[in-house]
Each structure stands twice: as C-alpha cells, then as structure tokens.
Symmetry: C3
Subunit: 266 residues, 3 copies
C-alpha cells in the first residue's frame, strides 16, 4: 500500500456513517460522540446489560474503554463483547489506567482473556500492564518508560494475538509481524482529556469500514494526527484546541491525509 | 396568537429562571446544563431514587431522556414522574433510540403508560416506536422514513393523549387537533451530539413558564432553531458551532424570535 | 505573606503535575478534567469501590463532589476518604445542592462527620445546610441569602474544624481564625455549569502542592478568578467563555497572579 492511499477511507466513512457502539468512561462520552459525529461516523453509547448485546450486534465496531469502570460495566463489556464476537463485529479495547490500580489491571486482563479483540490501544504503561510486563504508571497518565516501545507492542500483539497500537510521541501499530510507525499528531493532545479515548473510538470507526485492522488503524492514526496538527496551529490553548480539533475532524479530506500522512514500515 | 408574539417567553425565562429537573443521558449532561443556563433557566440533574421525587416536586418541569438508560434509572424516572404528576409539574419525555433495541422500546412504552406526559419529543422513528408503528431505525439516529410525519405525530398525540413533537428537516408539534410546523433550525444540529436532547430540555424550560404546552413547545422550537441558524453562520464546523450555539442561546432576544420565527398552522 | 507571592504555586504545579483524584458529578467530569489538565495538574476520575482507596492513596488530593450522588457513590466517597485520611492526603468536599433535598443534606452531613476534611467549599446555602443553619436554596443554585457570609464561614470552620471556603460575589476562606477575602472572578462563572465544581478541584490541586490549606485555597481562588476575568474579556457568551477560560488556565503565569490577585485579610 502506498502512502498516497492513506486518505481513501474518509469518503467511505462519510457515505456509510458506520454505527460505533462505545462503552466508555463518563469523562469523555460527550467528546467521543462529538468527535465521531464530526468525522462522519454514527456514535452510540449504550451500557445496560439488557441492551448491550443487541446494540453491539448491529454496530460496525464495538469500543470498550475502562476509564471509569465499575463491576457492572465490566459485565456489560463482556456481554457486549461476546455478542460482537459472535457477529464478527470488531472490538477495540482501551485499557485506560491499567496498572494504576490492581482493579483496573485485573479487569483489563479479564477482558483480553474472555474476548477476541481486533485491536488494543493504550500508552506504553497500559499495554505493558495488560500483558503483564513491568512499567511505571501514575494515575491514568503514563510516564515515559525506558523500555523499547516497538518491542513492547510486538510482544503484546503476539501474546494477545491481536493488533496492538501503542501511542506516545510517535505511534506504533503492529500485528506482531508487520509494524507501522505513525508520526502525525501534536503535543496538545496531552493537554486535553480524552484524546486517547476518542482515538480508540475513531480507530473503531475505521475498523467498521476496513477489514484489515492494521491498515485501518494506521490510517486512523494518521487522519487523527493530521487533524490535531491543523487544530494546534490555530489554537491558543487546550480549550480552543479541543474545539478546533472537532472542526478539523469534520473538515479533513482524503487528499490532505494522502499528502500529510507520515507512516512508515518499521 | 400572532407570529409576532413567539418571542415573548424569553423575558419571563430570564426573570423567573425556572428550575428544570433533568434525568438524562451521560453523553449530554454537560451540554444540556450549559444550554439551559445560557438560555436563562436553572438546570438540575438528579438521579438517585432517594431524591428524585423531592427534586421533581420543586421543579418547574421534569425532563426524562433514556439515551443511556439503565434499570435503576428507569425506576428513578418513574419515581420522579409520579411525584411530578402529583404536583402538576409538566413532564417532557425524550425516548432516545426507541426502536434501536427492544430494551429501549419497552422502557419507552412503560414510561408513556405509567406517567402522564405533557410532551413527547423525538425523531420520527423514535416516536413511531413508542406508539407501536413500524419505522426504520439505526442506532439512535433515525433514518428518514417514508411515512407521513404529520400523520404520525397526530396519531401519536391522540393515542398518548399528549402533545407530540417530531423533529427532523422541519419540526411538527401537535396535540392531535391543532398542529404547528416550525421551520427554524440548521443541518449543523445533526453534526453535534445532544442537539435533540437539549431541545427537549429547552422545551421543558418553556413548559415551566407557559401552561399551554403546544404554544410553549412551538415557541421553544423557534427560539432554539433561530439560535442554531445564527450560530451556523459563524461556525467552521461542529466544534465551533456548539460553542457559538451556547453563545446564541445566551444572546437571543424576544425581538429576534418575534421577527425570525417561522411557524405555521398546518 | 505578601500579595506579591500569591502566584508562586503555579510553577510547582506545572513541574510536579500532582495527581488529583476526583469523585465528582456526571455533569462536570469533562470540564473538571480539562480544567485541571489545562492548569497543569493530573486529573483522575475513579468511582468503583474496588479501586477508590488505591487511587486515593497515590493521589496528591482527593476531591469529593455530590452533584449527582447515589448511595453507591457516597459509599465510594467514604471509602476513598478513609484511605486518604490514613495516608494524609488532603480531602476537599463540595456539597453541591446540600439543602435542595433531604438526601443531599444527609449525605453531606455524613461525609463531614465520617471524614477528616481539609477544606469544605460551597455557596452560602450549601455550607449553611452542611453545618445545620437555615438558608434559602433553590435546586443546586443558591439564592443570595441575607445572612452574614463571613460569620457563616467562620462558624462552619470552627464547627467542622476545617478550612471553609464560601464562594459568591466575593469569596471568603477561613480556618475560623484567620480569614481571607478574595475579590477575583467574573459573573460569567454563574452562566456556565461546573465553575464551582472545577474550582473545588483546582483548590485540590493547590492543596496537593502546599500544605497550608488556607494559603493554598486563597491562592487557588485568586488564580482561578484571574483566569476567569481574562476569559470574560474575550468572550461573547457562556460558550466562548468556557473555552477561553480553559485557555487562560493554561496560559496564566505566576507573575500575572502576583500582580492581579485581590486578596485581603478580613
């Protein structure tokens, strides 16, 4: 695949408007829904055990995010995830804060064990904790670790048999064999809440329209990062950045992604 | 009533600042509270079964929205609704996603059966599902149906014995006999999350200061739509639209609504 | 302490990025997280009884806010609060809407009884209700009372043996003996939701880096108020104010707080 083609999914996104079912944390629900809508997808948030399976079955992708998990919500995630697996609906998992508390780590491990994920996305510390490697973590914001992120991502991908995406200064996405490094983005993403969470949902929206999850994920990372770069240029701080970013997700074109995507095979 | 009078409620709103009790979904709580505050009302969100009845009794209106319903929340809605009915507090019901899953449809039907609503607001698919008519639906965003929206609204109003408002390209509001068509608004409303949810709450704030629910609802639709039109003119995308819209709800005057309201009797 | 020193905490904030654990209401979670991030702190929201103690123990401050309380959440607050007390982590309590319903008043009283607070922040009505004095209240927005706010704050501080901050047209902060009046801020704070809630969390972030809670609180009030003043100057309404305010929390400097803080000993 040539870099010139990385923008080709946006047209399909806006035409098909895939339904993305999010079971996500209370901090980012609004931003996630608005981000997906701006990009062209159809977000739905549904949490009740009585309906999550029905909703997951009709979705194009299911995104699970444990940012403000509870016992009830984890049950709902497993329930929705089983339905998604039966139906062949791709599952994206964002283990927010795995490692910060034992409860998060255990919930994450249960989810990756019981469900057949299509993609796991987190920062280095979160991914390391999900697969059982040591990594420093403070709250839900990972400190930059000393480990080799590339190796971490590959090892996690092999161990979990899924595509793994580790985001940070540069983003790594790998199926354990083939690995892309994506160099789009902006430090402003670290100044707003939910930039990682929305990214996971955006990857879900790409996975809903492209079966090759590695390609879908890399394309999503690039489009997301480019929209962020453009938004940062016209912002004065995290408030205006957040708003400009939603505008840019709405305005970004296939052509822009084609020309600005910075994706390389590792 | 002359069109020139449709703006007359805004002064009362800002003077009385009616308390609007919302039991709504987690995606839109912040936007709903900020929208009501901007307009001049006093929003309160309260969900616990231990307090919803107390809160509903002192409110000017109760708004129920099942966007992220749970069994516990539906119980709280019934509980709050009974208190509101006893006290004569108008209830607005927004059956978000009715039809998307059986659980939502059943919860909606239970609410309209057990409570005495003042107004039901939804898109065509949601309203159809609440009253038991066939309509296509995907997630919580209704596809445009082929049915006659005017007839649907009237039939629902007669069946439920309440005012029904069906929003879409144009908005219909009817008590089953008298029907207004409101032609204010902007397509940008479909690019942000919670435009419909906030509208239901804004209708609630109008119902808190005007007993004629049909008139209150039509006036709310016009004011809301006009604020949206003005916001769309100064926006570059859904992010900046959302912010401009909150500003416009704050700035909109009775005079503007008087002159820009596009309301006609059907 | 000279007024010229009130800005001295901002550098430490941005260097140490203290972890602030919030158990807060669903309306303001996003705004709270974004506000803390903009200022330079590290917000975390965690609610599950299985993890709140672990999270509180590693936090620099714990902020409890009952804006949308439930029985489960109050238990989690007590649980987290006990862990914070054992670890010496300061607790800030925001009794949103105390007095609006008996349930809120009782929950507030239980929290101040069972936990050892570092600071209580509310409007006059909320604080009065927590300590058992009469005050008028409507919903979660207090009407201006007739009582002497200064005396109320001092009496509450002595009764609860904690620092008490009563916010309103001017802000009062006292340990019962020493009292500061802070005159920074803007009426726009009353036009957006969560201005008080975020303030409580911002006070928490200052308490995480400065052990003298009275000083930390007064400095937080000034910095917050100044950022609000600057934001109001460039806003057209509550939407743009909210965004400008996040930008100003990000941009505000120690020097600006030093020169613009309006703090006097009572």
């Amino acid at each position: 695949m040539e870099p010139s083609g990385w923008g080709r999914f946006l047209g399909k996104m806006r035409e098909e408007m895939p339904l993305v079912h999010n079971i996500t944390n209370v901090v980012v629900t609004n931003f996630t829904a608005n981000g997906l809508l701006a990009l062209g997808a159809s977000p739905v948030m549904a949490y009740a055990k009585e309906e999550v399976a029905d909703m997951a079955r009709i979705a194009g992708a299911l995104v699970l995010n444990i940012g403000t998990l509870s016992a009830e919500e984890v049950e709902a995630m497993i329930h929705a995830g089983n339905a998604a697996n039966q139906q062949g609906v791709p599952i994206i998992f964002d283990p927010v804060g795995a490692g910060a508390t034992p409860y998060r780590t255990e919930a994450s491990k249960r989810i990756v064990k019981e469900l057949n994920l299509s993609l796991l996305r987190g920062n280095a510390a979160e991914v390391a904790n999900v697969v059982g490697l040591e990594w420093k973590i403070k709250g839900v914001d990972a400190e930059e670790g000393e480990g080799d992120i590339l190796e971490l991502a590959k090892e996690a991908a092999r161990k979990l048999d899924t595509v793994v995406c580790v985001t940070g200064k540069e983003d790594v996405i790998t199926d354990g064999e083939k690995t892309y490094i994506v160099n789009n983005g902006t430090p402003m993403f670290t100044k707003i809440t939910g930039a990682g969470c929305l990214l996971s949902s955006v990857i879900g929206s790409f996975a809903a329209i492209e079966k090759d999850i590695l390609i879908a994920g890399a394309a999503a990372l690039a489009a997301y990062g480019i929209a962020g770069e453009k938004a940062a240029q016209e912002s004065e701080g995290p408030g205006s950045f957040q708003i400009a970013f939603l505008d840019q997700l709405y305005k970004i074109t296939s052509k822009e992604v084609d020309s600005l995507a910075s994706i390389s095979l590792s």
